[in-house]
């Protein structure tokens, strides 16, 4: 006798909670072979705005945490992911129609990428900042700081690795994130949200929306309280229009990348979303 399985309801991840879309909309997620997998929430403009509010509220705490603490929290995400490897592998096999070995490689790479970025949290400032030898009696130093709220259109052809590759570097410096997951491969994004919710990542630091990037992205690109826009997965959208909309508030923008190397690990993905603050401290005359 076979056991009847208990399917999971996939919802959004906003402010540390798992709400359904306020619009009540869902859309069908099917496997690579066309079989029904689940109904995912189809996020609306209002959900995107709620996510930005949650992300903004989380900026102070996350950017104010010590770099050592952020490093440990990010590392803990990798630990929890490691414990759930089997779940992610099964999900990716179903969704992408790849072999177990290929799915395993994607999950392992994603875990290792979290570890790599976690280690940057208390080091990148030493690489990206420096003291400046100005011609006068001043202690002058330039330090990088997070830019604030980063909206991300995740790579669309990857369940987990693309998402992790875009989200993790934005978090390193203390930014908070609103990410629109892959439209057709969103289930691992919600499972990753469960990992984030049960690790030590404060609520609101990562907010995950599923649904149509074409519908949601314009609201994020033009949102007054979003500081930066990562269009890495927006190659199929009218992304130039998104970049133009982002210019109204002079957002920092990364443009789309295609292929398996999209959002490849780099220090540049961390520093793309930081600001350089230069402080002149007057030295007394003694």
């Amino acid at each position: 006798m076979t056991r009847l399985a208990v399917p999971k309801t996939y919802k959004l991840y906003i402010g540390g909670a798992f709400p359904r879309s306020e619009s009540g909309r869902t859309y069908e997620i099917v496997s690579a072979k066309g079989a029904f997998l689940a109904n995912a929430s189809k996020a609306s403009r209002k959900d995107a705005r709620d996510a930005v509010v949650a992300a903004r509220a989380a900026v102070g705490g996350w950017s104010g945490a010590t770099a050592y603490n952020r490093a440990q929290v990010l590392y803990r995400v990798a630990e929890i992911l490691e414990g759930r490897r089997a779940q992610f592998v099964a999900e990716i096999v179903d969704a992408e129609g790849v072999s177990s070995a290929v799915a395993t490689a994607q999950v392992d790479t994603a875990i290792d990428r979290w570890v790599w970025y976690a280690g940057w949290a208390d080091k990148y400032a030493q690489v990206a900042g420096n003291a400046n030898p100005v011609a006068g009696p001043y202690f002058n130093i330039s330090v990088p700081e997070p830019t604030g709220v980063v909206a991300i259109i995740a790579p669309q052809d990857s369940s987990l690795l693309g998402l992790v590759s875009a989200v993790a570097p934005a978090l390193v410096s203390g930014n908070t994130v609103v990410v629109v997951a892959s439209e057709t491969l969103p289930l691992s994004a919600i499972s990753l949200s469960e990992v984030l919710a049960t690790s030590d990542v404060p609520k609101g630091v990562v907010n995950v929306l599923t649904g149509s990037p074409a519908e949601i992205a314009p609201w994020l690109a033009s949102h007054q309280d979003v500081n930066a826009l990562d269009l890495v997965g927006a190659g199929a959208l009218d992304w130039v229009d998104l970049q133009i909309a982002a210019a109204d508030t002079l957002k920092r923008v990364l443009t789309p990348e295609n292929g398996p190397d999209a959002a490849a690990p780099s220090l540049g993905r961390i520093t793309a979303f930081v600001e350089t603050k230069t402080v002149w401290h007057t030295k007394g005359l003694i």
């Binding site: 420096n130 006068g136 001043y138 210019a247 190397d261 600001e275 350089t276 230069t278 401290h281």
Partner: protein, 501 residues
């Protein structure tokens, strides 16, 4: 005769050897532009200085083509050491001709000679000297080994620090191995054209530096040119926004240095004498035509009365008048258009209920002038507390706690600079951490140095100029560029105005 009445002491203009007409500087030579020439006048006297060419689209094409040729054939192939030597030469030539440049700058821009002579021009030389040394050390700029130059840089600069902004743009671009086409602001083209002569004296290969003059349309054509790889703009936030839109979907690397509404925060334990001087320097330096000017004074409530009284007393000693006079503190407003804007916003300040005080001084008959002005009883929602006046107008607000000061300081879409005045080091460090601004001065204000990165947060733009960060703005990492997705559509250009910062 009071202690403020001195005999006039104007700097001699005999050192200038100006032409009556200036063409465009393209491919190492001056040539006439195809647009309608315009007059450059002295804002202090409204007298004609010279007639200057306007570059039309064809001239922009020619300048970009010259820069491209110079990049391909000469500059990108030259060793960093040799590029550096050219920049060192330029730095020395600027020093040698410094008095002439200072006189020309004060004549054309209206700023006091003591500022052009002691601040602008020395910094110009320092900027070239600093970046000259970077040219053969690019492996250490933070982008990994063998970083690559970008190609042709389109640079559009404002009228407030004409020659200094030119140096901020050209020095790092050339050190990194790029060639440039630079457009100075319409009202202040003169020193850029004198700089072109210096470029000739330095025997820089033709086309490495091209200087084209004209109004906003020339800038639009330059920034939007297809064969440009980098865009650097200093000016107003609206124009910066338009540029950001016009380059969307291209691979142009962009640096934007835009507006500001800096908070200058004075705590009750501040060294008060230095703070008063710092406040004055923060907003009345260069007639307040400074993007990072400390235009919002946040004073702790307990010392508000004392600070305002002392500020008024100090401002009453400032001398407004002939920019070329060595005793002048406040020069002329750069243009009648800018004067209109300062007047309009000041009138709005009064209409919205702020209390206006203006220093008593004699306003010359001709030219564009605005006496130092302070508004008290200003609230954060007043337009004079939100919008960039870009003139000698200070808005005074108060606070009680550090948290309130931080909240008010950050209550602006801008984020270029800020000042903190306090004797308590730990408070300065904590407040500096919380301010969302790219440059923060503690117990000083309006300090600039080629080694120190400058640039804003939020709607004050992005990218940095100065220091190691400034050279990185003109480089890309040595590894092959990531696979970019081609833009499907070409967007119409939306830039409509020139640099008016």
């Amino acid at each position: 005769m009071s202690f403020l009445e001195y005999a006039p002491a104007p700097e001699s203009q005999a050192i200038l050897n100006l032409r009556s007409e200036y063409g465009l500087f393209i491919d190492g030579e001056f040539r006439e532009g195809h647009g309608t020439p315009f007059a450059s006048i002295s804002p202090a006297t409204e007298k004609h200085i010279a007639t200057i060419s306007t570059a039309d689209a064809a001239d922009v094409d020619a300048a970009v083509a010259a820069a491209r040729r110079a990049y391909d054939r000469t500059w990108s192939r030259m060793s960093g050491a040799d590029r550096g030597k050219y920049l060192f030469r330029i730095a020395r030539l600027v020093q040698e001709r410094s008095r002439e440049l200072a006189v020309a700058e004060s004549l054309d821009n209206g700023k006091p000679i003591k500022e052009s002579r002691d601040v602008d021009v020395p910094l110009v030389a320092a900027w070239f000297f600093y970046y000259a040394g970077w040219a053969d050390k690019l492996d250490h700029a933070g982008l990994g080994a063998n970083p690559a130059s970008l190609g042709v840089a389109a640079q559009v600069i404002p009228w407030n620090f004409p020659l200094l902004m030119l140096a901020w743009k050209i020095a790092p671009a050339l050190a990194a191995g790029n060639t440039v086409v630079l457009k100075p602001a319409e009202t202040t083209s003169l020193t850029a054209l004198l700089f072109a002569e210096i470029v000739q004296q330095a025997d820089l290969p033709p086309g490495v530096v091209n200087i084209i003059t004209g109004a906003g349309a020339t800038g639009v054509a330059l920034v939007g040119h297809d064969d440009v790889n980098a865009v650097a703009f200093t000016g107003s936030t609206p124009v910066g926004r338009a540029i950001a839109k016009s380059v969307a979907g291209t691979n142009k690397k962009v640096t934007l240095e835009l507006g500001g509404k800096a908070a200058n925060i004075v705590f009750d334990d501040a060294p008060i004498d230095q703070a008063i001087e710092g406040i004055v320097n923060g907003i009345f330096f260069n007639q307040g035509h400074v993007c990072c000017a400390g235009s919002r004074l946040l004073v702790q409530e307990s010392i508000h009365g004392e600070v305002v009284d002392r500020l008024k007393a100090r401002l009453s000693t400032l001398r407004l008048g002939d920019p070329l006079d060595k005793n002048t503190d406040i020069g002329a407003i750069n243009s009648s258009a800018q004067l209109d804007r300062i007047r309009a916003l000041s009138d709005i300040g009064e209409a919205e209920g702020a209390e206006r005080w203006t220093a008593e001084c004699t306003i010359p008959e001709n030219g564009f002038w605005f006496a130092p002005t302070i508004f008290t009883n200003v609230s954060t929602s007043h337009r004079i507390a939100q919008e960039e006046v870009f003139g000698p107008v200070l808005s005074v607000l108060t606070f009680r706690t550090p948290a309130e000061a931080i909240a008010k300081a950050n209550n602006t879409p801008f984020g270029l600079s800020a000042g903190i005045w306090s004797d308590k080091g730990s408070r300065i460090l904590a407040v500096a951490d919380k301010l969302r601004a790219g440059v923060i001065w503690a117990n000083t204000f309006n300090r600039f140095d080629p080694a120190s990165p400058f640039g804003g947060y939020k709607e004050s733009g992005y990218g940095r100029e100065g220091g190691r960060h400034g050279i990185a703005s003109y480089l890309t990492s040595g590894t092959p560029a990531r696979p970019a997705v081609a833009a499907a559509v070409t967007k119409p250009k939306t830039v409509t105005k020139g640099a008016t910062k």
